[in-house]
Symmetry: C2
Subunit: 404 residues, 2 copies
C-alpha cells in the first residue's frame, strides 16, 4: 500500500502560499507510483489534531486558479508545539499519522512553522519513525536565513514598490507642501520596507526617506530631516517599517499605549504611521497623511509576481521530490547562481539550523544617514519582482479557489 | 490665427483623470485645422492664476502611458472661485485667456470643479465673451447627477471589489473568530462602499455587513448584528463608508475628537474604521482588525478598469468636439442605452444644473435592515468594472508619465 502525503500551511498568509500547495499536489500526482493520497491539514497542525483533514484531490476541481488564490487555501494556525517531546500531543500526532498511513509531511510556512517541522522530525528520529518532515519556506518578510530569498517576498515587494510609486504621484497633485507616511509590514526585518526604494524613478523622486527596523529611529532626527528635505521639494513621501524602535528599544507604535502579544510572543504592531502623522502635524504644522499598506501587502494577487509564483510552485514540487528521496528535517532554499541573467537552483538545508533565526537587512545596505538604501539591494531585488501574472477573471473580478 | 485650448484638472485625483486629459490632447491634435496649441494649467485654475502653464504637446513624449498614469498629471487644486462676478480674479483670468488666445477651456473634475466651470461660463455670458467653458466629469464617488456614472468610479469600484475579495480570503485563514472592518471612501454617497457587494461570491460569503452613509448608523444595532452573524460563521468582514453618521447626524469618525475642514467646507473624514475596531474589541472581546483602503482606491492603476479608461478618454475627446461646436457651460454625461449588452452614448447637460448637487445611492437599493445591497445595483455596476488594462512595465514596475 502506497504511503500518503500530508500537507499544511501555517503562519501569516502570502499571495503565493497556495502556489506552493499547488506544487505539492501536482508533484504528488506525478508520482502516482510512489504516493497514495494527498491530504491537507485544515488550519495547520492545530486543525489536524482536531481531525480537520481534507482529501486534496477531491477538493481541488480548479487547480490552476489555486496558483493565484491569496491567503491560505487550507487555512492556517499559529500553534506552537511543546518543547518537551514527552508531551502527549506528539504521541497523538504520530498515532494519527500511522492511522492515515502518512509517509511524508510537508509544512509550508515561515520561521515558526519551521520550528514545528524541526520538532516533529526530532521526535521521529528519537522514536525511530521513518516519516519524512520537510518545510517549504513562505514569508513576505524575507527573513529566513540561508535561502537567497523566500517565496512570497517578491510579490509583496512588487506590491509595495508599485503602490508607493502610485501613492507618490497621488501625494503630489496639490501645490501645497505635504508629508505622506507609508507604514509597511516587517516586525524586525526591513526587507519589504526597503523594497519601496524601487518606486523612486529619478534623483529626488519619492520615497524621500526610508526607515527600517534594523537601525534606531530618532524622532527629533526624523523631524529635522523632513525640514531639510522640504527645502528641496514640497511633497515628501516617507516609508517606515511597522517595527521601528527608538534608542531605548521602545517601538514607536508603543508610544500609543499598550499592545497585545500573539502566541509566539511577537508584539502585534500597528500604528507607528498614525503616531508619526500626529507628531509631524503637531510639531511641523504641515498637511500630513499616513497610509498603512496593511494586509493588502500579503494578499493582493492582481499585482503578484510571476517569478515568485513559479518559484513557489517549484518549492512545493521540490519538497515532494526531496521527501521521496528519503530526506527529512530539511527546508527548501534558493541558491542564486547568476544575477546578470537571474537564475536560481533549489537546494535544502537542515531545518533545525534555520528555524527560530532571523535574517535581518544588511546594515551596509542602509545608507544616507539611515534614511536610504544602497544600490546593491536594488540589484538584488529587481529580478525578484519581475513578470506579470495572468489571472482568470469573471465579470471583471479574479476567480479564486474556495474550500468546498 | 487659430484659437488655443486650455485644460485643467481639479479636485481629488482618480486612476483615470489622466485618460481624460489624454482624450483632450488627442482630439485637439485631430483638429489641427481648428485648434492651435493645447495648454495645460498646472494645479488648476489656482496655478493658472500664478502663470503656471505648460505646452502639453512639448510636455508629452509618451502619450500612451498617460492613459494609465494615476493622480493628476497637471496637478490639481481645491480653489473656489468667488460668488461675486465683480471680483478682480475674474478680470484677471479673462485677461490671461485673451493674452494666450484661449478659445476653449476644459476642466476635468467633480462637483466643485463643475462649480468653477459654471462661474466662468456665467461671467463670459454676462460680458459677451465667446470662450467656451465645458466640464469633463471625474470622481470615484459617482455622485454627479444626470450622468449614468462618472469616469473614475469604475476603476475604484473594481479596486474595492477585488481587494475586499482578497481581504475576505485573508481574513478567514485562522480557525478563530474575527471581525475585519474595511473603511471605504465616500463622504455622503455610498456608491463605492456598495461596490464591495461584488466581492461576495456565494450566499453567506463576505462581506457580511455593508454600511452606507445614506442611512443612519446605529452602534448598538451594529454590535447586535455582528453577534447574530457570528452564530452563522466565524470570520466576518464589514464594509463601512468613511462618512457613516449616527441618528443625530454626528459622523462616527467624530467620536474621536475634532476634525478639520477643507476649503469647500467638507469635513476631512478618516478613522471611523479604527473607531469601530476599538468599540467592537471592547464590547465583544473578539479579535478585530480595521483596514483603510485609503488613497489606493483612487490611484491603483494595476487593477484599473479598461471600460473606465476608454470612457474617460472618450469624455475628453467629446469635450473638445462639443467645444468646437460652440457649446458652452456644459458637462459631459453618459447615457446608458442598453444594459443587456452594456452600451452608452455621450451627451451633455447644463453645468449650472449639475454643479453643487449630489447623486446619493438609491434608498431602495439598501436592503437587509440597512446592511445589504439590492441585486439591481449589481446589475448596474458589473459592466462598469469589466475589462483589464495592459500597463507598460519596466523592471516589473508600471511606467508612468511625469511632468518635465
Amino acid at each position: 500500500m502506497l504511503g500518503n502525503v500530508l500537507v499544511g500551511q501555517s503562519g501569516g498568509p502570502t499571495s503565493v502560499i497556495n502556489a506552493s500547495l499547488y506544487g505539492v499536489v501536482i508533484e504528488s500526482r506525478n508520482n502516482k507510483d510512489k504516493i497514495g493520497k494527498v491530504y491537507g491539514m485544515v488550519n495547520g497542525i492545530e486543525g489536524f489534531l482536531k481531525d480537520n483533514i481534507i482529501d486534496l484531490e477531491k477538493e481541488l476541481d480548479n487547480k490552476e486558479a489555486l496558483k493565484t488564490t491569496p491567503a491560505a487555501f487550507l487555512g492556517s494556525c499559529r500553534y506552537k508545539l511543546p518543547d518537551n517531546h514527552n508531551d502527549y500531543v506528539y504521541k497523538k500526532l504520530f498515532e494519527k499519522f500511522k492511522e492515515m498511513n502518512i509517509k511524508h509531511v510537508l509544512y509550508i510556512g515561515g520561521n515558526d512553522s519551521m520550528d514545528t517541522v524541526n520538532k516533529l522530525s526530532q521526535y521521529a528520529k528519537i522514536n525511530g519513525n521513518d516519516i519524512t518532515f520537510n518545510g517549504i519556506p513562505k514569508t513576505i518578510d524575507n527573513d529566513l536565513i540561508i535561502t537567497d530569498h523566500t517565496p512570497g517576498f517578491g510579490s509583496a515587494a512588487k506590491y509595495v514598490a508599485t503602490t508607493v510609486r502610485e501613492i507618490s504621484l497621488d501625494a503630489q497633485v496639490y501645490g501645497t507642501p505635504s508629508i505622506t507616511i507609508i507604514e509597511i509590514m516587517g516586525r524586525h526585518a526591513g526587507w519589504l520596507t526597503a523594497s519601496s526604494i524601487l518606486a523612486r524613478k529619478f534623483k529626488n523622486d519619492n520615497p524621500t526617506l526610508i526607515h527600517l527596523p534594523e537601525v534606531y529611529f530618532n524622532i527629533e532626527g526624523f523631524l529635522k530631516s523632513i525640514e531639510e528635505k522640504l527645502k528641496e521639494k514640497k511633497n515628501i513621501v516617507v516609508c517606515v517599517s511597522e517595527g521601528i524602535k527608538d534608542e531605548n528599544g521602545k517601538f514607536i507604535c508603543e508610544y500609543n499605549g499598550d499592545i497585545e502579544k500573539d502566541i509566539f510572543g511577537h508584539k502585534n504592531l500597528t500604528g507607528c504611521g498614525k503616531i508619526l502623522e500626529k507628531i509631524v502635524k503637531e510639531r511641523l504644522n504641515i498637511k500630513t497623511r499616513s497610509i498603512e499598506l496593511n494586509v493588502m501587502q500579503r494578499c493582493t494577487v492582481t499585482n503578484a509576481c510571476l517569478t515568485d509564483i513559479n518559484e513557489a510552485v517549484n518549492s512545493g514540487r521540490f519538497g515532494v521530490k526531496l521527501s521521496l528521496n528519503g530526506e527529512t528535517a530539511k527546508m527548501i532554499c534558493f541558491n542564486r547562481i547568476d544575477n546578470e541573467k537571474y537564475m536560481i537552483n533549489y537546494k535544502y538545508v537542515d531545518v533545525g539550523y534555520v528555524c527560530n533565526q532571523e535574517k535581518l537587512f544588511p546594515k551596509n545596505w542602509i545608507i544616507g544617514n539611515n534614511t536610504d538604501i544602497h544600490y546593491d539591494f536594488i540589484n538584488y531585488v529587481t529580478p525578484l519582482i519581475e513578470g506579470e501574472v495572468n489571472i482568470e477573471r469573471k465579470d471583471g473580478l479574479p476567480v479564486f479557489c474556495y474550500r468546498k
